[in-house]
Amino acid sequence: MSQYEIDLRLPVDIWRKAPFMLVGPDIRFLPLGVLVDSIHHGDKQLPRITPLVLSKICSNGLKQDVVFCFIFLYINDRYERVMLMTHPVKIGSVNHEALEALLKEIFRIAGLLECQIVEVELNDLVEGSVAFPTSFSSISHDVEVAEMIKSDLEVFHREGFREWAEVECFEHKVHELERGLDETIRSQDMLHMTQVKVEDYLKLVSRLGGSKIRSFRLPTWDASDSIMLLNFQLFNNSAYVLRSSSRLGFLKSSECGYLCCVQNLLEPLKTLRTPHVLLFQRLLEAYSFDTMKIMDWGISPVDRLPELLFKATEVMKEKNITNIQFANVSSDQLKVKNLLYELGFKLIHRVKLLRREVE
């Protein structure tokens, strides 16, 4: 008989150990202790998010919580059902045995839910305050303070997981970035950044996405399943298109880039001391944020990235933002990364995504 047991529960002390927030329809239900968000796949309706606690059964019969994670379901672009496990949070003492027990349960549940793939999202590097969103799921932990298990790839490799993506986030000070940009970029007048509605942004991205160097996204089946969509809906004024005008007045301007940025909701999470920040929209409207994260972007050619960033700094200065984070850069986007480093950005967050098929 296993000395470990799994339970579908979100213990109250996870708020202390790994502060987090949700986006999506559950923002109003979570305080009631229920999660209602679901996905439809085939003929099944399945819970989108499930919290899991692994408990150890002690010799006296009492249970001690050991480790926690969320599992998050999505449908990938091959119409496969994927279970994404968030980086496990330490509650008690976590050893290899406990992690193996957790993974065994994960795969058992994946089998019950008829998932084809299990993925795990690991915070491989955290150097500083990582802005919201910090996950590809709809749950963002404050990864700087979260008491998470060590990102021990060996255990996951032993369990048959293989890396399939590595994604990075970079940070800079807004005024330093602006100062460091070439004068020609700062003084040019042929590029214009226009705010667009989220729906138009998504259509544009869908139309242009393939032709651009762009941010990493989970490959979901359709846009309506996109976690990004949930994030975008938080603030109406978050989506922008970069257009270049022709010097020949009769030619239409062309779209050469786009970005979507969001204020760091983990800041009010700390100061308001609640995971339910999105219930307090009026307070958020008046909140003075320090950091904004560009979480979705595309540019062509890649050399225009400094111009895109310059325009982003103009937007951020209007909102009194002091720090800019540029996220969802795949590790193999070397030109993008080199440009960022040249501009003075620092790497602050790296996420590894691993996957294994369910037998």
């Binding site: 002390d13 708020w15 202390r16 307070l283």
Partner: protein, 447 residues
């Protein structure tokens, strides 16, 4: 399950009487083919206690009593507010019930176990049958604060399938097994006190009802140390959230001292706290400092949007400005709220209820509301309206225990009921009262 059931079971157990609590609703959820008679294949009780605290259990309690008598030789004792109020009628109508303990039951139940084959007159608060004659003990027991400090509400191991109890009960105490909802917290109730200091027209637990049923003429608190100890045990049992519903005085020093003690003991738990009237901002600040915010919320029941109707029906009255001041404070302190309303209040017209809808909509649009609902008031035995219907403009449809029993029997058997709420008022018919709440709840879901 009434909160006191756990303490009763523990009290019996500590006095040497082997005791188990069986929640028949949870057993049926666990096993669809569960039948009450199955219990007697495993247990041979000498006494079966059945709670009839809430009138909604009127039929089920008697049905269980009848099953007990059919499958065992146990004595059957009922307790709880509804049983207490209708004790004589229940005993005269149903041979399956041997006795009813009126009011506080802990000490009387021990005495009953000792005296059940001897002299039942020695058992305080007891109403019983002796050779088909209904008799009442002259002895009285009313728990005081010192006695409350002896009670333990944490012996969940005495409840069969207690793990399911934590998960399957909602905040309102109902069983709510909707599979599409992932229930992610373990929840329990913490006793804070007994009694009330005011009379709301519709409440069967107000000051006068308490005097009538239990003999208690003022509220008493559970000692703070005991509440803290209970919460600590809850935390050790991995209970995430607790419901607190005892707020008999506007002066909340007792609660503030309790909150300070909870913080000092570093107890990490969420709380859903039901306020009987709006608090000041200081209370909300202390509440937010004390409890884990993950599942914490504050609850208030203005009942009506009309200040005039509220003033005529609620014991703790407040105007809408006071309510909005409180809501603003909750918002500033980042505490989510639940707000509850009712239809069917005395002196309430359709126009008054439209004020309720308007108030509800304003609150929903401007404040961090996680739950808002209106329910038609159901006639509660021993409430002011029940005892003085003419004074409150009420025409009773349910007057006796048999009226309540009949209503819930028909519900169980799938027979259309004559009345769903047990009354109508001089201002609105039963149908109108029910429709008002339907209109309100439609507004909530469309906002």
């Amino acid at each position: 399950m009434p909160l006191g059931t756990l303490a009763l079971a523990d009290f019996l157990d500590r006095h040497g009487y082997s005791t188990r609590i069986i929640h028949t609703g949870i057993e049926q959820l666990q096993n669809r083919s569960f039948k009450i008679e199955d219990i007697f294949k495993e247990y041979s009780p000498t006494v079966v206690g059945i709670d009839l605290h809430w009138f909604v259990h009127s039929y089920d309690a008697v049905r269980i009593a009848e099953t007990v008598k059919e499958y065992s030789s146990a004595k059957v004792v009922l307790g709880g507010f509804t049983a207490s109020y209708f004790a004589e009628e229940i005993l005269s109508r149903f041979n399956s019930v041997d006795a009813v303990i009126k009011g506080d039951a802990e000490e009387p139940l021990i005495q009953f176990m000792r005296e059940r084959d001897r002299d039942l007159q020695e058992v305080p608060n007891l109403v019983y049958k002796e050779e088909n004659i209904i008799k009442k003990s002259e002895k009285r027991f009313i728990a005081d604060e010192a006695f409350l400090s002896k009670l333990d509400y944490t012996r969940f191991e005495l409840l069969l399938n207690c793990e399911n109890y934590f998960r399957l009960t909602t905040q309102t105490g109902d069983l709510d097994p909707q599979p599409w909802k992932v229930r992610v917290k373990r929840h329990a109730w913490v006793p804070m006190g007994r009694g009330c200091s005011v009379n709301c027209s519709y409440c069967g637990g107000g000051l006068d009802a308490q005097c009538l049923i239990t003999g208690r003429d003022k509220p008493i608190f559970h000692p703070k140390e005991k509440v803290v100890e209970t919460l600590r045990r809850f935390m050790e049992m991995r209970i995430d959230s607790t419901y607190m519903d005892f707020d008999p005085y506007r002066d909340r020093r007792h609660h503030l001292e309790l909150f300070e003690m909870i913080r000092k003991e570093k107890i990490d738990i969420s709380s859903e706290f039901l306020l009987w009237s709006p608090s000041n901002r200081g209370f909300i600040t202390e509440f937010a400092k004390t409890f884990n915010p993950l599942y914490s919320s504050l609850v208030i029941s203005p009942e009506s949007g009309s200040e005039e109707v509220r003033q005529k029906n609620k014991g703790f009255c407040y105007d809408n400005k006071t309510l909005f001041d409180w809501l603003n404070d909750a918002k500033r302190e980042s505490v989510p709220v639940k707000v509850f309303f009712s239809s069917g209040l005395s002196w309430e017209t359709k126009e008054n209820f439209n004020e309720t809808i308007k108030l509800g909509k304003t609150i929903l649009e401007n404040y961090p509301v996680i739950e808002m609902v209106s329910n038609p008031l159901v006639m509660e035995p021993a409430s002011k309206r029940y005892l003085n219907p003419e004074m409150f403009g009420v025409k009773l449809k349910w007057k006796s225990f048999m009226d309540y029993y009949g209503r819930f029997k028909r519900l169980a058997e799938g027979i259309p009921e004559d009345s769903r709420i047990g009354y109508e008022t001089s201002w609105e018919s039963e149908r109108e009262i029910i429709e008002n709440s339907i209109r309100f709840n439609k507004m909530v879901s469309s906002t």
